[in-house]
């Protein structure tokens, strides 16, 4: 799932300061699940913007709605009327959602209310952790299902490095050393021997931007 964070209210205010009728669009997919861009946050952001604009000469008019998937143009049809009645749109979605909105409604400024962070999962303790860098050349079969490209700050393919201390990473003492995790997992899988193989450098040509996957409809 795509993990995103809400921008600071100051940043959002700066983007929309010259607009009065603002429509906030939440997304019912990843950003709802990671608790930052669902209907609850749409309502809180709209309250916050109303409070922070309380001294404006002309009052802000804020409306909001969450649609099931912002990166799907067909789902965007339902907000045609709301868009018509607005001066600007604040998208509470990942960058893909913001761009889909922006492409669909070309005559109105669409601003991102979120910073898209990464592909990750919940750690069950209220945090979301990055798990995948979308490198385009998956090597999880070699590393016991743990991605060193993402979870090792150096992206080492043959680790660990000398900075692994007590199972933690020298770059951030709260981060477990990915290569230690890989070692433990391979041990559980009785595959420790395989770690003696040297992994070749990745084929980064598969990471060419912008990526494109042909699904063939």
């Amino acid at each position: 799932m795509v993990i995103a964070e809400i921008k600071s209210l100051a940043d959002i205010n700066e983007m929309i300061k010259s607009f009065r009728k603002i429509f906030i669009v939440g997304c019912g997919e990843c950003v709802s699940v990671c608790l930052t861009g669902g209907q609850k946050q749409v309502e809180l952001l709209s309250s916050a913007l109303r409070i922070s604009g309380r001294n404006d000469k002309e009052k802000r008019i804020l409306k909001g709605k969450t649609i099931s998937r912002q990166c799907e143009p067909k789902f965007l049809e339902q907000i045609n009327k709301d868009i018509e009645e607005s001066d600007a749109v604040l998208s509470m979605a990942c960058g893909a959602g913001v761009q889909t909105l922006s492409e669909k409604f070309r005559k109105i400024p669409v601003f991102p209310a979120m910073d898209t962070k990464f592909i990750g999962v919940s750690d069950e303790a209220g945090n979301f952790i990055e798990m995948c860098s979308a490198c385009g050349d998956c090597i999880l079969s070699l590393t016991g299902g743990i991605c060193p490209v993402t979870r090792c700050p150096k992206g080492l393919l043959n680790g660990p490095c000398g900075g692994s201390k007590n199972g933690k990473c020298e770059a951030n003492p709260e981060t477990p050393c990915a290569w230690l995790l890989i070692y433990e997992k391979m041990k559980e899988l009785n595959k420790l021997e395989e770690l003696k193989n040297i992994n070749n450098p990745k084929d980064w040509s598969k990471n060419m931007r912008p990526g494109k996957v042909k699904a063939g409809i």
């Binding site: 709802s32 409070i51 069950e124």
Partner: protein, 645 residues
Amino acid sequence: MSITAMPPCQAACPIRTDVRGYVYAISKGDVSEAIRIIREVNPFPSVCGRICTRACESACRRGQIDEPIAIASLKRFASDETMEQKDIFKTGPYYTEKIAIVGGGPSGLTAAHDLALLGYNVVVYEAHDELGGMMTRGVPEYRLPKNVVMNDIERILSLGVEARTNTALGKDITVDELMKEYQAVFIALGSEKSLFPKCRGIELPGVITAVEFLKQVSRGQRPYLGQKVVIIGGGHTAIDAARTCIRLGSPDVTVLYRRTINEMPAGRIEVEEAESEGVKFRYLSAPLEFIGRGRIEKIRCTEMRFVADESRRRRLVPVEDSEFEVMADAVILAIGYNPRTDDIKDIEKISGKRGTIVVKDDTGTTNLKGVFAGGDVVSGPMSVIDAIASGKRAAIAIHRYLRSLPPKENEEPTVLKPLDEKIIPLIEKRPQQKMAQLPVEERIKNFDEVNLGFTWEQAISEAQRCLNCGAGAEISDECVSCLNCVRVCPYNVPVASEYKPKIDISQCQACGICASECPALAIDIKLDTKEQSIIKLQNAINSAKNISGNNSEIEFYCQYKKIGKPGTETSKETSIGKPCIARIDISQFIKPFEEGCKKVKILACKDNDCHFKECNKWLNKHVNEAKRILKESGLDPEQLTVVYE
């Protein structure tokens, strides 16, 4: 199981009273709402609050944790506290048809009440000079004061119901005559003809039936009892008669019962209360002969025992050579009752065994067109709530008959399941409130009511013990399957299923934390819905602004900690009570500021002093987040304060 599943208390009630609804209203100190809910289905709350057989309490799921909710006592509280409220909804008449009710007991009067509310002209015929049936003639005043029964009856009459007393069916009127004047007749004669044991000597002076005895006493007469009184029987009436004898000053009162206390129709509590007043009980004893010269002097009895027959059923048989004698100056017979219909000629076509009337189904329809019957005359003696239920069913059946509607289909409700074993230890134990009673030495001197009713504090505290079964969380289609509810529930009720999470409504404790944490606002709690919360908050904000303008302040408080009699400080219009404040989502804390309020104060409970679990953890999270938003929006976060009390 859907959110509409019925709490077991309601399902067990013969008239399906919304127990959860009125108990919750009392927990908020709102007795007017409580009595409104009760009276919606029950015209006799003061009676049922005192002498109901309380199937609801046996079904109450709180009993799985400690003790059931004292439901009947709470009903009595709601009724006692609103005795002066005479806001009666007077209706109709909408229809021209007239209906005769024969019998002014609980069944007949309930039918009269419901039919009057439906908009019919109703006349009640009563053989005695007073309405109420066994409620006023049978149950002694120390258990059910006559004035509270009369209060309920007056309300029924105030709906426009006409009562013709001293008019007996078979003597003063006949069914045929009634059917000429009325379009439907409901026969609810009761069951007051006493049964007699098959013994010699029952004709002796001094041998009296309990019904006759209690009736005489209720009219202020004092039958001769002498020194030693023996009551034969083990039902409520037997105990009522015994305790009445004590109050009339009899020094030696014994109840003789052929079975043991375990088989007694009267409850164990009644037996204990009677014993504490000095009544003696002799079990497994039956009379053989009443003996005396011109007046009862003694009873020849035998001991009884249970034997298992071939079909393994226990049978009661006399013990050989166990005869004994009991001295008695008076004997009161309370072994059972049948309806008294033998001298009513024109209902022969519908009469059944032992004086009963035969009906086709539980709506009370009989083989005579337009004639319905219900209550004890159909079933033999039963509880007052069953009589009320029968009157209600008959009222609907009569209405449908007169309006040519098809009979109402019986819908069996889906009932909540018992609490899971793993939830039970997570719920805090709180013992049931015990109602104060008159001290024994005082109550045996008069007929004053023994049970004194709950105080406000007791009633609210008792009502707050209710688990609000089935008023918990419901997930809407807006759910995005984030499974946050699964992670935050302090009772581990939500579970991840194949697609969306599921919340078992039978187990949900309605704490509301999942709803306040749901990112999609997809969970609502029936106990305190989002819609209700928004309305309450908006009303409070409007009042606050009216009262103090730009200096307005809103206060949230925990209903479980700070509730009192109406008129006390928490009933301020700007204060919002919540069934636990952990359920309040951040937007409710922010909204008043959006509307220009100056301050929001939260009265929180101290740690470990909480009705649900982990409340302060969630409250702190919501408050911190709200403060961050206020700060970012340019307000002082200290405008939102939490006070731990």
